[in-house]
Symmetry: C2
Subunit: 363 residues, 2 copies
């Protein structure tokens, strides 16, 4: 078995003890609340991690893109929710093929978008299960709560479609400065959605599913009666942003990037072989600050080029060329998408090399 | 032959007419100045584009990572400069294998880093050609100009190494606000390096190569007598940052991202199926502003999630679900690294699908 010291850098490491604990804790939390956990697998895009999530009790996976679902479906995953407004006839035909092998649900947020999907399914004598996306404050996709009833009425009778419920994603939790603020977003997310579900049901519309998202808000949203499903993704790995948001401690972060100091060209400066091609240029949440944390060091990664992480060396610290460091990334999900493989480690031992099977599936 | 309209989105397009013109123009500029053009292929990571560059007269390629060089070497490219401080015995052994099949040069900026490479080559009875990196103001890697003589003296007699010259990269040109400022950085870059070369030669040190980098500064640096090689990369595609810097016009940008409007959830907002997983979260240079330009539109991409590009719709413009748009990215090089394939188009026809063969080679 390889030891971590033998890996070439940069390399993405996932600590198995932490990963397993994160997966178990979130599964247990969902069990306690009687909510189905359907993790968003975009965070890892790794078949082996998805299997660990199912083994711990997750009821299917969430994904964003059709191509990602195709990868997981081909590997035997049989219950997938595409939590994204899938649009267009080409994609509808791919969804039709996917629906042959998996229990598939798809997000919609417009009648125009949904109609194309419905037409393709209807022509094949089939119906596609859809969930209507509601915007609870993130201002990205989703119908406004006050527009949800009208949208659901239009969708429910649409040929080729079968409306199953509502879903949301409280991404604005990532912008709140305090854990209390994040908790408030989570409760609001769930309360808005459950209240809307009641309104729609009173109107005779079928709302079986009330599905909420996001790692920082999951614990708060799950506790609201009426929520049936939660779709956190990042919790498997966590990252510097989750620590900053108060979601977890550094000890709960499973992913780190092993890097080598390739240059110490001047006093106060060291350069790592991990830049934006390895760590991404995503900012720290909730407030931008640096490009990942050097574990066990006070020095900061103050800027990135594609292949360089430039470290502002703290007083009383020093780095030497060839030395190895570990970086806790700002945002784990985007790191996954940059790498073909990651290394599953336990202590100093590399237990497995995992392929990031659904990496780069953009469409 | 496919038309662009038949491609699924998001998709990265490269306009062949523009690509060919960009390649030819830079090659011609280098010829006029009597400078070897050694383009940095990190921008495209595509074998076919590298072949076009060589066919137009480039004398070899530049790359950053050992793994990238391995991909190009395996495809028959036989003259490669790794313009990056390669560190460590594992990588040195890979360089030794590479040196069996290509004329290889490697950047160094420390005696410690270089010594490890030299030891491995010396043990094999070989010598590795090295260029010393000099920092001309970017403050990333490279020895300070005043430290270059001492470093070169230490390197020149080191077993297993063969000092060939000096190189630099004026990345700080990307931070200058005006074309005149960029030009000044380019001239300073070249003048610092040629003057240093003279100092080293007067000391009896061999400095055959004086190699400069960067697309915005290339035209200015090439004109300085004594420069032997230029390593611009981005010029093959250009991007919104190059336009902002005054390097080129929009009509000189070969790469665009074809995207679909997947949601128009509220007045003033439209959402594309291209987010940071497709466009990257790299900022616009020289001043951050938005996340790529919507070609032919005044509306702005004001924020990105991984799979969402959120457009602030300009007054008098509108978008509908299913509509297609093209985005000029902030930074073309990082877009290449996010995609397994790109589409080479001429007008509305897709002439080829190219694999981004060296994508994701982080080590």
């Amino acid at each position: 078995m390889l030891s971590v010291d033998e890996l070439e850098t940069p390399a993405v490491l996932v600590d198995l003890d932490v990963l397993e604990r994160n997966i178990e804790r979130m599964a247990e939390r969902a069990r306690q609340h009687g909510v189905r956990l359907r993790p968003h697998a975009k965070t890892h895009k790794v078949l082996e991690v998805g299997r660990l999530q199912l083994a711990a009790g997750a009821g299917g996976l969430s994904l964003a893109k059709t191509g990602e679902a195709e990868v997981f479906a081909a590997a035997g995953f049989d219950d997938i929710f595409l939590a994204y407004p899938i649009v267009g006839a080409d994609k509808a035909r791919r969804l039709l093929r996917l629906a042959d092998r998996v229990r598939l649900r798809v997000g919609v947020d417009s009648v125009e978008g949904a109609a194309t999907l419905g037409d393709v399914f209807h022509a094949a004598g089939r119906r596609l299960e859809i969930l209507l996306k509601v915007d609870v404050g993130f201002a990205r996709v989703g119908v406004a709560p006050e527009a949800a009833l009208a949208a659901a009425r239009q969708l429910v009778d649409r040929p080729g479609l079968c409306l199953r419920g509502l879903f949301t994603h409280a991404g604005h939790g990532y912008l709140r400065d305090t854990p209390a603020g994040v908790a408030e977003v989570g409760r609001q997310e769930a309360e808005t959605l459950t209240s809307l579900a009641a309104t729609l049901r009173a109107d005779g519309l079928p709302v079986e599913e009330v599905s909420v998202g996001s790692t920082p808000t999951a614990r708060h949203a799950m506790g609201v009666a009426g929520v049936t499903e939660a779709r956190p993704g990042n919790y498997v790995y966590h990252d510097a942003s989750q620590v900053s948001l108060g979601t977890c401690g550094i000890e709960d972060c499973a992913m780190s990037v092993l890097a080598t100091v390739v240059s110490v060209p001047a006093a106060g400066r060291a350069v790592l072989d991990a830049g934006s091609k390895t760590l991404s240029s995503d900012p720290l949440r909730p407030r931008p600050a640096g490009h990942g944390w050097l574990l066990g060091r006070r020095s900061r990664i103050e800027r990135l080029s594609e292949e360089h992480g430039v470290v502002a060396v703290a007083e009383a610290e020093s780095f030497r060329v060839g030395e190895r460091v570990r970086v806790l990334p700002n945002h784990a999900c985007v790191v996954s998408n940059l790498h073909d493989r990651i290394f599953a480690v336990r202590g100093d031992q590399v237990e497995a090399e995992w392929r990031v099977a659904a990496r780069g599936r953009v469409d």
